[in-house]
């Protein structure tokens, strides 16, 4: 248990030391999305019966929490290849699950911080949505899934350049295609089916339904729960692969 606490506390201390610049950097992308797609392009648009901005905010929360959750891979890479802190963890009498859980929750914490920044910007813009427990459960599961994948990729991929490839070819396309900026339901069936396979599509759906005060979409909730479980298992198994 103390091993997990040590790994997570280290992430929290790093966040604490970097907090002002971190919050500032978390606000850049969401602000740009809201200004460009919300206030700029979509000011007079509606999706269903709601203004586009109300559609966009939960999508941006889903995309941002995904990015920050997955972004733990960069931190781990720096710790592993530049600072070599990973060796300190490997030489310590802690289990793999302690390490993995500590790092994943580090990613989840970053995701929540970015979510709070977006909610603050949203409140300033006068957008009112329902931010209840299911909304935050959606953020948590989404961040957990992608932080698990971030830990896995950091363990398996041995260079910064290859890490960037994963982000460019998998994460960035998902930001645009996972129900963030447009409703997946409006697409033809041939496009809709593959997009429904993306975890972010279900996260966007769950978070948006909660923000609208609609009933919980159980299928998306269960899929995200299963992916979180599977992602943790993958991350757990990948730690041993990082040892030479």
């Amino acid at each position: 248990m103390r091993g997990f606490l040590a790994v997570y506390l280290r992430e929290l201390l790093i966040i604490w030391h970097r907090l002002p610049r971190m919050l500032l950097s978390f606000s850049v992308s969401p602000t740009l999305y809201l200004v460009a797609f919300g206030f700029g392009l979509g000011k007079n648009l509606t999706v269903g019966e709601r203004p586009y901005l109300e559609f966009l905010v939960p999508g941006v929360v889903a995309a941002s929490s995904m990015m920050q959750g997955f972004g733990i891979n960069v931190e781990i890479n720096v710790a592993r290849f530049y600072l070599r802190i990973f060796e300190e963890f490997q030489a310590a009498p802690i289990s793999n699950w302690s390490y993995v859980l500590g790092e994943i929750l580090g990613g989840v914490t970053r995701a929540f911080l970015s979510t709070f920044v977006i909610l603050a910007i949203t409140a300033l813009a006068g957008i009112h949505l329902h931010f209840g427990p299911v909304f935050f459960l959606g953020v948590f599961l989404n961040a957990f899934v992608f932080a698990s994948l971030g830990v896995t990729s950091a363990m398996l991929i041995r260079s910064h350049a290859d890490q960037a490839l994963v982000t460019n070819f998998i994460i960035t396309p998902m930001v645009f295609l996972g129900g963030t900026f447009f409703p997946v339901e409006g697409l033809p069936a041939w496009a809709r089916v593959p997009l429904k396979l993306l975890p972010l599509t279900h996260a966007s759906h769950l978070i948006r339904s909660a923000a609208y005060g609609k009933p919980v979409p159980m299928v998306s909730l269960l899929i995200l729960g299963a992916l979180a479980f599977g992602g943790f298992f993958l991350a757990y198994r990948s730690v041993d692969r990082a040892r030479d």
């Binding site: 040590a6 201390l13 030489a91 310590a92 009498p93 040892r243």
Partner: protein
């Protein structure tokens, strides 16, 4: 006296490259044992295997007669590691680095506070405890790295090239620190390619060359093998060294060579001579 570390036929292959070719040695409790060899000899690989960072290809190792590969958590609790690379969290403070290490090794908060204070005072870093590590000098970082490894009171301390790249005066200060750690009863395995470091610190030295231990004894015995005094002669082909059982014989030879017009120097035999003798090359 108990055997703190026993290594039997340790082999490590990286693909087709054999980094360790079945090395074996024992370290009694409380001894400072040095692995001396050039870069690529297998020193760091040995330490990485014994501290659980690298899996061996073959062989066995024991801490206090318990197999470390079948009981890795037991082995990790007993061991402290000072790696070659300074793997400190630069953005965290000195205190926070020690706190994280203490938690990683299962210490409670009270023990962490008491131990961290003791070690910070011991190493002269108490006044820097709230400074971020990135503001410390290279020598201070090395001292922090050493006391971090001592936080959980390891019975066996692994020091991988602890003074590499440091100024001579800082190196000597660290030697004092390492000697003090040994006097507290800690068994130490040190790797180095600094001859004088092994000679000054080690109770016994193993010469490691191309993954094999080619000699293992006390520094004195390794040197005595060649004699007591050496005469270096400058020749057109390079420096040639002759060894003599005592200084008087060396002086007679030096006088003779000097009269013949050769440039000569008399000195005592050192570990480098012994290493050259056993391996055929310099460290």
């Amino acid at each position: 006296m108990a055997v703190a570390v026993r290594v039997e036929g340790l082999v490590k292959d990286y693909g087709k490259l054999r980094a360790l070719s079945g090395i074996s040695f024992e370290i009694p409790e409380g001894e400072l044992f040095a692995l001396l060899g050039p870069n690529g000899a297998g020193k760091t690989t040995t330490i990485r295997i014994l501290t659980g960072l690298t899996r061996p290809t073959a062989g066995r190792a024991f801490f206090f007669e318990r197999d470390i590969f079948s009981s890795p958590l037991y082995a990790k609790r007993l061991a402290g590691l000072v790696p070659q690379a300074t793997n400190l969290d630069l953005e965290l403070t000195v205190w926070e680095n020690l706190l994280i290490h203490g938690l990683l090794f299962g210490m409670d908060r009270r023990s962490i506070q008491m131990r961290a204070r003791e070690l910070l005072e011991f190493s002269g870093l108490w006044d820097r405890r709230n400074h971020k590590v990135k503001t410390l000098s290279g020598g201070m970082r090395r001292r922090l790295l050493i006391i971090r490894a001592l936080m959980h009171e390891p019975r066996i301390l692994f020091l991988d090239e602890p003074t590499v790249g440091l100024d001579p005066h800082i190196r000597r200060r660290l030697w004092g620190l390492i000697k003090q750690i040994q006097t507290r009863g800690t068994t130490i395995l040190l790797t180095t390619h600094y001859i004088e470091e092994a000679e000054f610190l080690a109770d016994r030295v193993a010469f490691l060359d191309r993954g094999r231990i080619v000699a293992l004894d006390t520094p004195q015995n390794l040197m005595t093998h060649l004699g007591e005094a050496a005469v270096d002669v400058v020749t057109p082909e390079g420096l040639k060294t002759k060894f003599f059982p005592n200084r008087e014989e060396a002086e007679r030879e030096a006088m003779k060579l000097s009269r013949a017009g050769e440039t000569v120097t008399i000195r005592r035999v050192n570990l480098e001579d012994a290493f050259l003798h056993f391996t055929g090359r310099k460290v």
